[in-house]
């Protein structure tokens, strides 16, 4: 078997597609004007931004005037939480509802709010990786400023009951934010039908550039600024507009949302082959529900193997993947998502996330399914735990 290069970490980031790069290109070198400038070069930039805003709006069923560009998904998340809290502070709303398995952009922002005197309820997830709308409902209090539940989880890919939660929040009159960074382009989103008040998205998960994001804020909600300065983005987000990246995001989101269902079917078939193939290895388990998950997401715990070395070994074989092990982030704890799912530390340490995209081919899947068992065998052979695991001994 020849060595191939397979990028199977699309949940971490994606390649900028050729269409996107082509769309961006002129804004680097010919249409490089400042979008606030009055001359044609500036007006062209401005027009391109507004066209992109329309595309982003259309992709999620919003109005262009409800979209603001930001520098990333994390900024959008921070802005949603802190802006809403600030806006409602004078009304005595000092409580936040979120879930235990949100992205750190939400969790660490909530922790920062706790330091400022806010109370945060972290609703749990069940063993399939779902937040229950009922739990959210019960968590809402009179002083709840915002409910923030992610649309789809970045590690285990489970898609949450957003419409139900949206309905509950609307009934209770509470602002509902969803981090849809992983969902956009994979799931049909309609902010109006789903009663979403604020939504975060990011370009680099859908083949646009890193460092560009957007936030949808429902008309009527005036989010105080997170960053102050010039009049860009209708006085809401200063900084000379990143025109090429904005144009790229518009292009990318249009492509990503134009044929979701067809793409989903195709990718799901490949993804299921991956899941089924890897689950044939002994002592493995799928993390997150099998069906209600992002089409490209495969997350499997492989006992007796540590995540980082698994990734390095896959890398040597040309496969880019991710793990529930948070080694790279400077922490030794395994992923909070897998722990929230009820996994033991040692199992969580040995998780493998493969996230494929529309570019992934059937041959890529064949290759992955050839390499993973070999690599796992090699690491298990090297592991002092593996025999004990096979014997059913406790390895705590």
């Amino acid at each position: 078997m020849d060595k191939r290069f397979i990028y199977a970490d699309n949940a971490a980031t994606t390649r900028v597609s050729n269409e996107v790069l082509n769309a961006m290109y002129p804004y680097f070198v010919t249409e490089y004007g400042n979008a606030s400038s009055i001359y044609a070069l500036g007006r062209n930039a401005k027009k391109a931004i507004e066209l992109s805003r329309e595309k982003v709006a259309k992709a999620i069923g919003a109005e262009p005037s409800e979209i603001y560009f930001t520098s990333c998904g994390s900024e959008s998340d921070n802005w949603a939480i802190r802006g809403t809290c600030e806006r409602l502070a004078s009304k005595g709303k000092k409580h936040i509802v979120t879930s235990v398995f949100e992205h750190h952009a939400i969790l660490h922002t909530c922790q920062a709010m706790e330091k400022l005197g806010y109370e945060v309820t972290y609703v749990p997830i069940d063993k399939n990786g779902f937040v229950s709308a009922e739990d959210v409902k019960n968590a809402i209090r009179d002083d709840t400023a915002i409910v923030s539940i992610m649309y789809a989880n970045n590690e285990i890919g489970t898609i949450q009951p957003i419409e139900e939660i949206g309905k509950i929040c609307r009934e209770k009159g509470v602002v509902f934010h969803t981090d849809a960074v992983q969902a956009v382009g994979n799931v049909e989103i309609d902010v109006k039908a789903q009663n979403i008040d604020i939504l975060s998205l990011s370009g680099h998960k859908i083949h646009a550039q890193k460092g560009i994001g957007a936030i949808y804020v429902k008309k009527g909600i005036s989010l105080p600024n997170l960053i102050f300065g010039g009049a860009q983005e209708r006085n809401k987000r200063p900084g000379t507009e990143n025109v090429p990246a904005i144009v790229g995001l518009g292009t990318a989101i249009e492509i990503a949302t134009s044929n979701i269902s067809e793409k989903r079917d195709r990718v799901t078939v490949l993804r299921n082959r991956l899941i089924d193939g890897i689950l044939q290895l002994p002592k493995t388990r799928l993390n997150g529900d099998r069906d209600k998950r992002l089409p490209g997401n495969c997350n499997i715990s492989i006992e007796g193997v540590e995540g980082e070395s698994l990734l390095l070994m896959l890398d040597i074989n040309g496969i880019c993947a991710s793990s529930g092990s948070a080694c790279t982030s400077g922490s030794l704890d395994p992923s909070h998502v897998l722990l929230a799912l009820g996994l033991k530390h040692e199992v969580a340490h040995g998780s493998l996330r493969l996230s494929i995209s529309d570019d992934t081919t059937s041959e890529d899947v064949d290759y992955i399914l050839e390499v993973v068992p070999k690599v796992v065998k090699r690491l298990r052979d090297m592991s002092p735990l593996w025999e004990r695991i096979l014997k059913g001994e406790s390895i705590d």
């Binding site: 040597i316 080694c327 400077g330 530390h345 592991s383 705590d396």
Partner: protein, 140 residues
């Protein structure tokens, strides 16, 4: 977090992986919860570590430090092996990322644990010779 070429080399082609049947000393340190376990097997002939093997469950640095540590003590006297510090392992690997330094500590401890086991099997109290091995402070 970046690994040196040496670390990547010792990870990809670890030296001395395996077990030694009838080893003269076996040491195991770390725990699965924190993500790293090292088990070291040694064979001692006339105060010389004539053979050494390891099995490791852990990250790239854990594997690489195990591999490097075995290389550094193989053929050496017990005295020299006991003098091996985690720092020497790190240096031999051209450095480790700060968050991975504890792996080198584990490697040092694994050697000491194996030697401790060796002395115990010889009916010698290892404590005065080797001292307390302690536990990796990162894991507890």
């Amino acid at each position: 977090m970046l690994y040196s070429e040496k670390v990547l080399d010792h990870f990809s082609n670890p030296r001395n992986v395996g077990e030694i049947e009838n080893a003269d000393g076996i040491g195991e340190v770390g725990n699965a919860k924190c993500g790293d376990i090292m088990k070291m097997y040694i064979k001692v002939d006339n105060g010389i570590i004539s053979d050494v093997k390891f099995k490791t469950f852990g990250c790239g640095a854990a594997v690489a430090t195990s591999s490097m540590a075995t290389e550094l003590i193989k053929g050496k006297s017990i005295d020299d092996a006991l003098k091996l510090t985690n720092k020497a392992v790190v240096e031999a690997l051209d450095g480790l990322p700060a968050v991975k330094l504890h792996c080198s500590v584990l490697a040092e401890q694994a050697i000491k644990a194996a030697l401790s086991d060796y002395y115990t099997k010889q009916g010698i109290d290892p404590l005065p010779i080797i001292g307390e091995i302690g536990e990796c402070e990162h894991c507890h």
